[in-house]
Symmetry: D2
Subunit: 351 residues, 4 copies
Amino acid sequence: MRLESYGAPLRLEEIERPETGRGVLVRVEAAGVCHTDIHIVSGSYDLGDGNLLRMAERGIQLPITPGHEMAGRLADLGGFTEASLREGDPVVVYPWLGCGTCRKCTAGYENLCEGKPASLGIFRDGGYAEYVWVPHPRYLVPRGNLEVARSAPLACSGLTSFSALKKCALNGDDLLVIVGAGGLGTIAVQLAKRTTGAKVLVLDVSPSKLELASELGADQTIDTSGRARRDVISEIKQANGGRGADAVLDFVGNPSTSTMGFEMLTKQGRLVLVGLFGGAASFPLPLFPLRGAQILGSFTGTLTELSELVGVAATGAVTTFVSAEYPLEDANDVLRRLERGEVMGRAVLRP
Amino acid sequence: MRLESYGAPLRLEEIERPETGRGVLVRVEAAGVCHTDIHIVSGSYDLGDGNLLRMAERGIQLPITPGHEMAGRLADLGGFTEASLREGDPVVVYPWLGCGTCRKCTAGYENLCEGKPASLGIFRDGGYAEYVWVPHPRYLVPRGNLEVARSAPLACSGLTSFSALKKCALNGDDLLVIVGAGGLGTIAVQLAKRTTGAKVLVLDVSPSKLELASELGADQTIDTSGRARRDVISEIKQANGGRGADAVLDFVGNPSTSTMGFEMLTKQGRLVLVGLFGGAASFPLPLFPLRGAQILGSFTGTLTELSELVGVAATGAVTTFVSAEYPLEDANDVLRRLERGEVMGRAVLRP
Amino acid sequence: MRLESYGAPLRLEEIERPETGRGVLVRVEAAGVCHTDIHIVSGSYDLGDGNLLRMAERGIQLPITPGHEMAGRLADLGGFTEASLREGDPVVVYPWLGCGTCRKCTAGYENLCEGKPASLGIFRDGGYAEYVWVPHPRYLVPRGNLEVARSAPLACSGLTSFSALKKCALNGDDLLVIVGAGGLGTIAVQLAKRTTGAKVLVLDVSPSKLELASELGADQTIDTSGRARRDVISEIKQANGGRGADAVLDFVGNPSTSTMGFEMLTKQGRLVLVGLFGGAASFPLPLFPLRGAQILGSFTGTLTELSELVGVAATGAVTTFVSAEYPLEDANDVLRRLERGEVMGRAVLRP
Amino acid sequence: MRLESYGAPLRLEEIERPETGRGVLVRVEAAGVCHTDIHIVSGSYDLGDGNLLRMAERGIQLPITPGHEMAGRLADLGGFTEASLREGDPVVVYPWLGCGTCRKCTAGYENLCEGKPASLGIFRDGGYAEYVWVPHPRYLVPRGNLEVARSAPLACSGLTSFSALKKCALNGDDLLVIVGAGGLGTIAVQLAKRTTGAKVLVLDVSPSKLELASELGADQTIDTSGRARRDVISEIKQANGGRGADAVLDFVGNPSTSTMGFEMLTKQGRLVLVGLFGGAASFPLPLFPLRGAQILGSFTGTLTELSELVGVAATGAVTTFVSAEYPLEDANDVLRRLERGEVMGRAVLRP
C-alpha cells in the first residue's frame, strides 16, 4: 500500500521482491496502524498560529510505503552470516533509523538523528507490504514466543510509551497522571504499574477507555468531558494529599491538555509531551524556575529501549491492546477510523 | 533595613540583638543585592496575560528584613555545642530554608519546599542587618580564606548559576549558549569553562558586558541589540557546524529570550530557564517530541550545591564579580540602580 | 531491653518516660529484630584475616536500648507545633540519623554520616522499649493504613532491600540474581518484580526459603547446597541465553557468595554487597576493567527512600514477611534463634 | 609490523593495499604505542594466584598488525558516499569495535561487546602500518586542526582516562586521587582540572613524573616510594580536612595500589580500576556496605566519549604528552622501553 501524493488514499501495488544486497529481508506478518501514518498521508503537522510542519520539508519523498510497526520473520540474512539470528526467526523491527554517523546516531539515539533520518515506513519503505528491507540485522529484536499481532505495536506505540515513561523518572511514591487512554495510554498504564511503584491516575473523555484503563491497573480515573480545568486539577490534588502531580504523561499534546498538564504539576514536576496533535501553547515563564518545573518532549525511543521493552513484554508484564486485525488492503479504511477516534487500543494489518 | 509595605522604600531600624534559643547567630559582614529583592520590595512577579504572582500570596509577611546573600562570621553557636564550627569562623549562609518536613525538604531540596518555606531574607529576616539568626548550624558553609564580599553572592547568584549549569548536563563537546551577561551570567561563564568541556557562547545587548564575558573565558559573544531572532540563531548554528545549541541558560527569562532560546536548540537540547523577568511565552507543541526538546526551570540551589560551589570557588576557579560595596543604609539606592540595569556584576552591602 | 555489656544478654529495665524537649516522642508498637542487633550485642564484625571491626570503635556506648525497626504512633510533638503530623498518627520511624552537619548528612545521606552518627537503636536508645525519642518530626514517615507489625521492618530490612535494589540500576530485560532468600531477600524479590521489568533468579541453601521466593514472584530459583560454584554459574548463564547476571544482590556477604557473585557477572555487571556476614574476599583485578564490572556496597537507605518505600508498600506492592510476634521480654530468645538461621521472614517484638 | 607468534618480536612485512569493499580506508600518520600492545605481544594478562588470561582465549588470531591508537587522513570512502566526510579529511580512528549486534553494541558500548569483539589492532589489523581498513565511516572522528601525533593517543590513553574520570562522578568539592602519573595519569590530571571542580592529588614513585603532574595542574603530589601505605593514607586525609578520597583513579591496578586505593576512600567513595598490571587483591567485605564504597572497572570508552574528548582537546583543554616520535620499524624497540617504564607520556610511531 503506497502513498503517491499527500492527501490521497494509499494505492495497492505489486512490487517485485528486491534482490539481496541492501541488508536483511523480513517477511511482514503484522503492521500496526499509527496516528503518525495519518500525518504522513495528510502531509503535515500543525505548529499553531497558522504554521504547518510539512512532511516534504522533513525530507519525505513520495511514493512511499507507510508502516513502521512491524513484526514478522527473518526471510533473508543477506551477507550478514555472522549474526546470531537464523532465517525464520520471529522478530520485531526497530524502524527509527538515522544516518548512522551524526552525534545522535553514534550515541544510540538514531530516533533523534540530526543528519538524514532513514526511518522505515516514513523515509524508507515500511511495513504496509509483504516484505521489508532492513539495512542491518542489529535492528531486528528477537520476539521469542510473543504473539505477532501484539508484537508489532511494540515498535512504535509500545516504545513511545516506554521511553516517555522513563523520562518521568518516577520515584516509588510519586503520582503519575496519564492524559489519554488510547493505544499509548493503555500501554503506559500497564508499564507504570508493573515497572514502577508510582500511583497512576488516568484522564480521558471516553468512559469506555477509562474503564479499560482501570482494568489494566490504573489506581484512579477521571472523566474530563465537560469539566473545567480548575475542577479536574483540584480533584487530582485532593487525591494526592494536597500535592499536584509529580509527572504528567500527555499522549494528546494539544494546547488544552498541555496547559492543564503544566498547571497540575507539583514542585519539580515533569510534563512529558508525547502526543503530536499539534498547536501552540502559552506557559507562564516565572513558574518554570519558581516550581522547578520541566517540560520534556519524548519521541519514539532507542533500539536499546525496544530491546528492553520486548524483554518486559515477554514476561507478560505488558500487553498491547490489539482491537482488531485487517487485511493489508483495508489500510485506508483503518486510517480513516483512527482519525475519527473510533479505534480502541491498536489496529493491525496482516499482509 | 526593613520592608514595611510593598512598593515603599526600606526603612532603617534599630532592633535589639535577640536572645539565644532560636538557632545560631551570624554577624553579617556582607550582603549581596539581588533582583529578587526588587520583586520583594515591589510586591509581585508578572505571569503574563495580565496575571501577577503576589508576594503576599506566596506567604511573605511584613515587616521583613530582606537580604538572602549573606557572608560573615559565626557569632553565637546557641545550644549546638556538638557542631564542628567555632565562634568566629568565617561562613556563607545558605538562605533557602524550607519547612524541614515535606517531601522536598527531606530529599534535600529545601529550595523547592512544598510546605511553608522559611527562606532567610524572604520569609524570615535576612542579611540587610548586622546580625542574622540561622535555625541550625548545618546551613553555615565554611568559606575558608574566601574574601567576604565575594563570598556573599555565592549564596544566591553563584548558587543559582551553579545549579542551573548542572541541569544543562553538558557533554564535553556541547555548545552552551548563555543569555544575559549580568551577575549570574558572568559566574556561569566561568563555571562552564572551568568545570565542563563545553564551548560557551554568550548573548547580551551590552557591549561592555559581552567584553567582560570574553575576558572571563567565553569562546564567542554576540551582541543581539537590534538584530532579528532569525539572524542570531543562524549565526549560532554557523558557529557550531550547522547544529544548534545543546543547552541554553536563560538568565533573563522574558518571552522574547525564552522563545529564541527554544528555537535555537538542536535535538535533545535543554533550555534552562532561570531569569524571573516574567511574562508568558508560546511554544509550538509538536517540536517538543519531534526534537526531544526540554524546558527546565531552575530555582536557586540546594545546600549541597552551595557547599560544592564554595569548594570550587576556594580553588579560585570562579570569582563573583563584585562591582562595588556600599554601607547598609544605601540599600534603597542600590536597588534602584539594579532595577535600571546599571549594576555590572554584583553590588554588596557591608553592614 | 538494654545492652549493658557486649556478649551479655539484654536486661529488662524500667526507665522513666523522659520529659519533653528532646524532640518528639513515639509510642513503639512494633520493633523488628535484625541481624545487626546480633552484631551489636556480640560487639563486632569480622573483617577477615583475623581483623575485627569493634562496635566500641564505631563509637557505640553502653548501656543502649537496641531496636532500629520501629513503627508506632506519635505520642508527643514536643515543640514542633508547625509539623503537619498530629498526636496519635501512625508512623514508621527513620532510625539512620547522622550528625546533621557533615557533607553526607546535608546531602541527604545521614545513613552514611561522616561525622558522629546518631542512629536510633545503635548510638541512641531505640525501639526495644515502650517509647522512643526522635529528635525531629521529619524522621517520622506516615504509614497510613499499613499494619503496624508489617510496617516496622520497612525501616531496616525493607529499606536496605529497596536502596540496594536501586543501586542495581536494572533495565527492563536484565537478569537480577538475589543471593539469600531471608528477610531482606524476600522483600527484594517482591520489589524487583513489582517495580522493575527484570527477570529475578534466587539462590539459597534452604528449599523452604526458595519456595517462598517463588511464591513471591521469583522467575527461577536454584538450591546451591552442596553444589560447585562453577555449576551454579553455568546454570545461571544457561538460563539467560548464555549471558551472565546483569546484577547480583548479595544479602549474605561472605567470601564464598561474593566471589561467586562477581564471577557470574556479565559485562557492565553490578555486584551489590549488602550482607554483613563478614570476612575478606580476593578478586582478580584485570577483570574489573576488562568486564567493566562493579562492586557496590549498600548500607540501609536514606529518609527519602524510606518515604518512597512506605508509599510503595501502601499500594500493596510489597509485604514484609513477618513470621511471628513476641512480647518485648523475649528479645534475647528471638536474637538467638535469628543467629541460628531459624527465623523465616522477620520476627517482631510488640512492646 | 606484524605479530606472528606470542613472545616473538614484530616483523616488518609488505602487504598489498587491499581493494575497496571492506569499509573505508585511512592513511595512518601516527600510531601510539600502548601498554596493551605489550600484553598482546607477550600473549597474556596475569589474574593473580597463578592464573593467566591468555590472548588466544580472548579470540585473538595471529598474524595480526597491532596498533589501536591511530590518527591520519581518510584515504578512500568506499561505497559510503552519503557520509559527511571527504577524502583527505583529518581523523582519529575509534578502534574499540564490537560485533555490532549484541546488547552492549546496540546500546553504544562496543568497547564492552558481549559477542565477538572486532577491535582494530587487537582482533583486526591496526595501525602499525601505512593504511588501515575501518568498517564504517561512523568510527572516524574529525580532528579539525589537532596535531596528528598528539591526536593518536586520544583513541586509547586519552579515551581511557576520559571514560574513567566520568565514572568518578566528581562533585565540585570532591578530592580525586590519581594513582600513577604516566601517559594516562597526566591526561587525567588535565581533564580533571579543566572539566571538573575537584581537587586533584597525584601519587607516583617517580619525582620527575610527579613534577610533570604538578605542571599540568595537580593541586598536590605525594612521592610514595619507600613509604608505608598507612602514612600515605594519613597524609591524604590530613590534606582533605580529615576526610579520605571521594574518588581514586588507579592507573596501575596491582594488588598494592588497589588495596591502598580502597583503604583511602571516604564514605560513598569510588575506586575506579583502569590499570591492567594484573594480580588479585583481597578486600574486607563489610567495609563495602558500611562505607557505601564502590569499585568500578573502566575499560577504554565509547565512540561517543571519543567524539566528546576530541571536542574537549580541540579547545586546548587537554594535551596528550607525546615524548617522542619514531619510524614504524622501531616498534619493537619502543615496546621494550615502555615495558621497562622508560617512556614518559606517550611514544608515537609515524608510518
